[in-house]
């Protein structure tokens, strides 16, 4: 469904993403992991049309979408969330979610109903009529997720929606993401919470310093030497093995 080839982007002297390849088959949950600053968010932004890549191609269902503005990509069925949450601060939580709902549901009553249901389902029930600015960090993360889900994407890009959640909340969210896939959506996510990655992902890609260094099933990745080194520093794998 999503095919990324040779995607690159630099910011001044920083090569944030260096020619990565990535495939997300329809119906799959794919995780993109890597240490802080690896280039995950930048990759998402480039895929979803928010930053223009310096080179490379992004195909959605076979169509090259490089250069498309984000709203066109969203209309084509790919919706992203923001790691640094971006609420519509002056609108209520329900109104926030309703903006997403309007993408597929132009009737306002139906959109409102959908937004309130989804908000309640994601544990925002008590907050629906309060301004989004009043939410806690965890609440904002859920709002990001709720808004994106309300847009009924075919391909959902989740950028660290579980960061800052309690273990119970992580479990709830994992179940929720499974449910979304169960309803036919494809998911690409980044996450530092490994428990969630292991529980969800069919396939894992690992980035470090802008490059794709490994890919495989969660099980394969867990024992991959390059991955351990990327996270813990050079020689770590050997030290662990020795230790």
């Amino acid at each position: 469904m999503l095919e990324v080839r040779g995607l690159s982007r630099r910011f001044g002297g920083v090569r944030a993403v260096r020619g990565i390849d990535l495939d997300v088959p329809a119906g799959a949950i794919v995780a993109l992991i890597g240490p802080n600053g690896a280039g995950k968010t930048t990759s998402f932004a480039a895929i979803a049309g928010f930053v223009r890549p310096d080179s490379g191609s992004v195909r959605l269902d076979g169509t090259d979408i490089i250069g498309w503005p984000p709203e066109r990509i969203a209309l084509a069925g790919m919706v992203r969330t923001f790691q640094i949450t971006q609420p519509f601060a002056g609108l209520t939580v329900a109104e926030n979610i309703r903006i997403g709902a309007f993408l597929r549901e132009s009737h306002r009553n139906a959109a409102t109903r959908l937004a309130r249901e989804l908000g309640t389902e994601l544990g925002l029930g008590a907050w629906l009529d309060r301004p989004a600015a009043a939410l806690t960090v965890a609440g904002r993360k859920r709002l990001e997720l709720a808004r994106a889900l309300a847009a009924r994407p075919r391909l959902l890009l989740l950028d660290e929606v579980m960061a800052g959640l309690t273990p119970t909340e992580v479990n709830e969210t994992v179940a929720l993401v499974r449910g979304v896939r169960g309803r036919g959506a494809t998911i690409l996510l980044t996450e530092h919470v490994m428990q969630a990655v292991t529980a969800l992902a069919d396939r894992v890609y690992v980035m470090a310093e802008g490059a794709m260094i490994a890919q495989g099933t969660p099980r394969e990745i867990a024992v991959d030497q390059r991955v351990v080194e990327a996270y813990l520093g050079k020689g770590a794998a050997a030290r662990i093995a020795d230790g």
Binding site: P87, L91, I99
Partner: protein
């Protein structure tokens, strides 16, 4: 509470018809035009957060469209209404596309609208079809067919009709999808685009709607005063008044501009009856604007209506 407010406003709006005083009717007409223009500004500036310092550009275009069509081409002034709306809307749309595509926001947008209004003023001042600096005089000939009324109450009715139209438009924004998109773009453009909102289009459409309504205000002006010249048509003071009415009343609320127009006219008329020196009343507007920004960012509407997020 909100319902009570609307009933009170509607009653207040009908009162001048009961009076036979042309003075009262004139006052009511001016207030209604201020409210209508403030509401027009509010559609772009309040709901869309598109702070314009040059909205008078649309007012002047509408006024000239109406004046030119009837004096130079002999059309009925009733045609001035759709013509002005079309021109104001078209220019608003194009201005929006040009500025929003270029990524102008906030202060830059405010300044660019001011520059557009100034460019139009200079143009009107120097070309032939507008009569240049001497302006256009419309012949006095009161009749309904001529959209000129001897009784000021008829002029007031026309102003109320425009106010009702603008308020209806604002009301639709407050509840519908387009308005929700507009407010989403105001609050966070990137987040809105991620959810499929075509931000440039939404903002341009809001500016077009706002421009069309403002241009209609220009037509009403010409039909009441039967004269237009560049400094009146494109005065910075009118741009500021539109903004002021919306900000004082409560930008981004449906009732705000109505309350704002009442407040601004109350300030102006009381001051003028106390001190004759020109400048005192507008100076107070500025002070009130500063106070509102500093202490009551939601405007008067915050007092009168229940806050939406209680």
């Amino acid at each position: 509470m909100t319902r009570g407010l609307w009933i009170a406003l509607a009653t207040l709006a009908l009162l001048p018809f009961a009076s036979h005083s042309q003075f009262v009717a004139n006052l009511a007409m001016l207030t209604a035009i201020s409210a209508a223009l403030g509401q027009a500004w509010n559609i772009a500036g309040g709901f869309g957060g598109l702070t314009s310092f040059g909205h008078v550009a649309f007012f002047g275009l509408g006024a000239y469209a109406d004046a030119i069509l009837q004096t130079r081409y002999g059309f009925t002034p009733w045609l001035g209404l759709p013509a002005a709306a079309l021109l104001g809307g078209g220019v608003g749309w194009l201005m929006g596309l040009a500025t929003f595509r270029a990524g102008l926001r906030g202060s830059y947008f405010a300044l660019v609208t001011l520059a557009f209004a100034e460019a139009f003023r200079i143009l009107a001042n120097s070309i032939g079809i507008t009569g240049g600096g001497s302006g256009i005089l419309v012949k006095l000939h009161t009749s309904a067919g001529n959209f000129q009324f001897a009784d000021r109450r008829a002029g007031y009715a026309a102003a109320l009709a425009l106010l009702a139209l603008a308020t209806f438009a604002a009301r639709r924004l407050a509840v519908g999808r387009f308005g929700a998109y507009l407010m989403a773009v105001r609050e966070n453009e990137d987040a809105a685009r991620a959810l499929g909102v075509r931000a440039v289009r939404v903002k341009s459409a809001a500016l077009a709607l706002s421009g069309a309504l403002t241009a209609l205000g220009g037509v009403l002006y010409v039909q009441s005063y039967l004269y237009i010249d560049p400094p009146t048509a494109f005065s910075v003071e009118r741009s500021v008044e539109m903004l002021l009415v919306a900000m004082i009343g409560g930008a981004g609320t449906v009732a705000g501009p109505l309350l704002g127009a009442l407040a601004v006219h109350a300030i102006a008329d009381t001051t003028r009856s106390l001190v004759a020196t020109p400048g005192v009343a507008p100076m107070l507007y500025g002070v009130v604007l500063l106070l509102i920004i500093g202490f009551l960012p939601g405007g008067i509407a915050r007092f009168v209506t229940r806050p939406a997020h209680a």
